[in-house]
């Protein structure tokens, strides 16, 4: 932690502001050894904690979903009870590998002559039920609903007819008909064996004592992931996000131009609720980059665009929600316009805070926090990597300027985090009066490349409507000897829902930190 900044903060700010967090390395999964080359398919492309924070899922470019479970929660007894007994869990969250499964496979769309990558774009956890975990995963075109459950491995130990004998004995009428495939081509089963039970066959009142039910011995359990539903063929463009509704029965999927509404139980139809496709594609100026449901209000959803605007939609107003109910955008200050203004304004990710009051958005250079009751401008703006501004031209030339960084909020809504280049990520305090701005590196020593934050204390806020710019680093950051590596970018990260713990992806490695 930046001791100097933190100390001053403690003095100047009101006592309600919590001190900056002291981040420590917790765990790493899939750490690279020095010189090891990263396989493209292993690169993590999605991270998501479930609602309880007991599970974490990652998706990768190879179409796999890997699940992790928390180990520091005692297995016996419900977690909720434990928390009631002793609210402060002394230990930080620790996870272990739980299971993994192949969610998507590469496909080829023959109609459009398009390859469909297996890369997982988003993962969303669904309501846990009956001890099974449920999640939605999507690639560019197809969303899948997965159930992961402990299943008992069953072994039938006793039967009426010894299977080896039955098949050896050709004249015995067997429902298996001695052939390896007893089923008819249409899937129905041959009724032939049952002809032997002719109508004059009498069942004695006490039944046949010689018949017995198969005895099943089950000892081991194993985790099995099963695809329950496939929601396909509803998107002409690439799906960039999925989000489930608080009503527990619907979810949305958004592509570049449209947002569709699905019922979790119905996979063969969806309703188009937002369509920004112009009649003439040459008039296209803006695409949808992400969409998310409000965490509590089932009728509210937000989507953001490549032009830097966030639109709030009220599903109650109309079946087709092309008209937004609120529009959030920052009006550019005159005179600052450059060639890159529009490109870097594009919002790559939005997240609602847990209580739904705020929306966090990430564009190329900044994080912005919006109050959904205030559409005149963001409540606060945080510079993520201002030192890159002079280098936008380079970033444009190597296409890095189009990288889509994600952002996340802490469960208490007091802090926000997002990624940057050189495997760095930044954590900002967003409570009023906080000037917390930490830079961490996704490595075993997160503070190794600590960039000095300015010692200048943040101005205290007289009102929330004032826009604060904080965390801008001294222009000499590069002079510190930190060369910025544009190939190692930290795009995906997630904040634990109720503890200060962050999971972030550096290429194929998953790093976990706690404070």
């Amino acid at each position: 932690m930046n001791g100097k900044g933190g100390g001053e903060e403690g003095v100047t700010a009101t006592s309600s502001v919590s001190p900056p967090l002291d981040w420590k390395f917790s765990q790493v999964f899939g750490e690279r050894t020095a010189g090891e080359e990263v396989q493209e398919v292993d690169i993590i492309s999605a991270i998501e904690f479930d609602k309880s924070g007991d599970h974490l899922a990652t998706g990768d470019r190879g179409g796999r979903v890997v699940l992790f479970e928390r180990t520091d929660v005692k297995e016996h007894g419900s977690r909720r009870e434990l928390e009631k007994q002793d609210y402060s869990i002394s230990r930080h969250p620790e996870f272990r590998y739980k299971t993994e499964f192949q969610s998507h496979e590469p496909e080829f769309d023959y109609l459009k002559s398009l390859e469909i990558e297996e890369k997982i774009n988003k993962i969303r956890w669904c309501q846990t039920s009956n001890g099974a975990l449920f999640l939605l995963s999507t690639n560019d075109k197809t969303i899948k609903f997965w159930k992961v459950q402990e299943k008992k491995v069953k072994k039938v130990s006793e039967m009426n007819v010894d299977s080896s004998q039955a098949s050896a004995n050709g004249n015995i009428p067997s429902s298996c008909s001695a052939s390896p495939r007893p089923c008819l081509p249409n899937g129905g089963c041959s009724e032939r064996p049952y002809k032997y039970l002719s109508s004059d066959f009498k069942f004695p009142p006490g039944g046949f004592p010689t018949l017995r039910l198969p005895v099943v011995a089950s000892e081991d359990t194993s985790l099995i992931a099963r695809c329950r539903r496939v929601y396909a063929h509803a998107h002409d463009y690439h799906i960039n996000s999925i989000s489930k509704n608080s009503d527990g029965e619907t979810f949305i999927s958004a592509d570049d131009l449209r947002i569709n509404l699905w019922n979790l139980e119905i996979s063969n139809q969806s309703f188009n609720i937002v369509d920004v496709k112009p009649a003439n594609m040459e008039d296209l100026t803006e695409v949808i980059t992400s969409a998310e449901f409000h965490p509590m209000q089932c009728n509210t959803l937000a989507y953001c665009s490549s032009k830097g605007s966030i639109r709030l939609v009220d599903l109650r107003q109309s079946a087709l929600c092309d008209n937004h109910s609120k529009l959030f955008e920052e009006h550019e200050t005159p005179g600052t316009r450059s060639f890159f203004t529009e490109i870097i304004a594009s919002i790559s990710d939005i997240k609602f805070s847990k209580n739904g009051r705020h929306i966090l958005s990430r564009d190329y250079m900044t994080l912005k926090l919006w109050d959904i009751n205030m559409d005149s401008g963001p409540v606060a703006t945080f510079q993520v990597h201002e030192y890159l501004r002079p280098r936008l031209c380079d970033l444009y030339e190597n296409d890095s300027i189009f990288d889509k960084f994600e952002c996340c909020l802490s469960g208490d809504g007091l802090r926000i985090a997002t990624g940057s280049y050189s495997n760095l990520f930044r954590v900002f305090g967003c409570a009023s009066g906080s000037s917390e701005a930490t830079t961490l590196e996704a490595s075993k020593n997160p503070m190794r490349r600590q960039v000095q934050t300015p010692a200048r204390p943040a101005r205290s806020l007289s009102s929330l409507t004032r826009v604060v710019r904080r965390g801008s680093e001294s222009p000499g950051a590069d002079a510190n000897g930190n060369s910025h590596d544009f190939t190692t970018k930290l795009l995906h990260l997630a904040w634990h829902p109720n503890e200060n713990s962050i999971a972030c992806a550096a290429a194929n490695s998953l790093y976990m930190y706690y404070a």
């Binding site: 015995i172 009428p173 069942f203 039910l213 107003q317 109309s318």
Partner: protein
Amino acid sequence: MAMLDEPLYPIAILIDELKNEDIQLRLNSIRRLSTIARALGEERTRKELIPFLSENNDDDDEVLLAMAEELGVFIPYVGGVEFAHVLLPPLETLCSVEETCVRDKAVESLCRIGSQMKESDIVDWFVPLVKRLAAGEWFTARVSSCGLFHIAYPSSPDMLKAELRSIYGQLCQDDMPMVRRSAASNLGKFASTVEQSHLKTDVMSMFEDLTQDDQDSVRLLAVEGCAALGKLLEPQECVSHILPVIINFSQDKSWRVRYMVANQLYELSEAVGPETTRSDLVPAYVRLLRDNEAEVRIAAAGKVTKFCQILGPALAIQHILPCVKELSSDSSQHVRSALASVIMGMAPVLGKDATIEQLLPIFLSLLKDEFPDVRLNIISKLDQVNQVIGIDLLSQSLLPAIVELAEDRHWRVRLAIIEYIPLLASQLGVRFFDDKLGALCMQWLEDKVFSIRDAAANNLKRLAEEFGPEWAMQHIVPQVLDKMNNPHYLYRMTFLHAIALLSPVMGSDITYQRLLPVVINASKDRVPNIKFNVAKVLQSLLPIVDSSVVEKTIRPCLVELSEDPDVDVRYFAHQAIQSCDQLMISG
């Protein structure tokens, strides 16, 4: 296994396959669960099979669904109603699986079993089950419990009844919206078993909770409860408690809720009675007809006729008709289509004068709508208007529009019109038909699109059935036969097809005298396709004409075709000859 008697093998296998690897085999065994139960006997079914099934709850959904269904009719196999309770445990586990259709089936089966159980058994076994499910850890169990209260409640003693009511009240306020939705949609059923005194207090307060839910999806299910509860309450109570809720819902922020109101309004108006409907629901309905959201207008427009029937002509003309006029030029084609499908029914309600003055212009504008569905919906209900304004007026005003559609550029529209022609013919009568539509029917036979020609041939058959062979002899047969000279073989094939279809209707004499010669003649066609179709037609004529005709006329012709150079012609000729032979043997 040596102990098993030979006849028992099928059952033994069936039992073993309850645990087979192959899902189809397991499914097959579960579907024959009753056979297994009979083979085991009642006692072992109770003591072994049912516990075995209770364990078997992590199978595939299809198997679980089949099991839930089978168990619902299993009472005879466990030893009758007194042992019905042994069936509850496996169904209880099925009530908490995550697949909705399995749960629904399990609830259905539980209700079926519960409704046969003795009162004391309900209290001893069924009520505890409902309570367990309602307190279930997972929402799936609680969702299922909501559908069981109406079975548990009537048999319970007062203390238990009070408890059940309070549990249901808690379910209406559950954390999970899924549970609240289930509570909302089952409220009507549960309420119908609750005593009047508690209905007004407990049930109404639950209902109020649900109507004020944050989730649209819960509120809109509460709308359905309005109608169900309204019918249970005395009219006065209904007006004071349900009506304000309905009025509120009709102005809900959420279009989905308003849509539900529009869909349910007829049932709601039945619940509150005609007088209140006239005074209070009409303004609400008019608002819905003018709603901003097209989906709501669609639902509302679809109820126009039913609603007007309650209102009577005067109010309908005063309040509803202006809205109908607006809707007939609505910007959404789906709204116009919904309106078109019911608007004809308004004619009998409004009476002749109002229909002619007010409705007819609307009909005409809808008939000229650019959207084919709208036009078709009007045409399919013409009979209702006919009864009110009479055929002459109808023909003057509507017929030109129909004729226009019959020649529509889109073949699907023409096809749809053709399919309505027999209906129109029966509504309009022979004389009228001959004048106006007869020529069209012939014209379609020579349409450029095969589907139209095919439909036209079928149409002729249906017309012949409608107006009888004599009429067909005058108006169809000669025309069709004349056309066999058409230079294009595809058209000749259509006419041949028409002849084949007409002959069963026309009967053996006409077939022999008029149709058969033409067919025989066509066997000398230069196009092989015609010739093998002749063979097929002749085959179809065999049962219609006398056997002497078959031998004298048809067989020689077929024999000739069977020596044709074309392989297909020979094939079909042989087929037909074989049919001749069979006919001879059986005849």
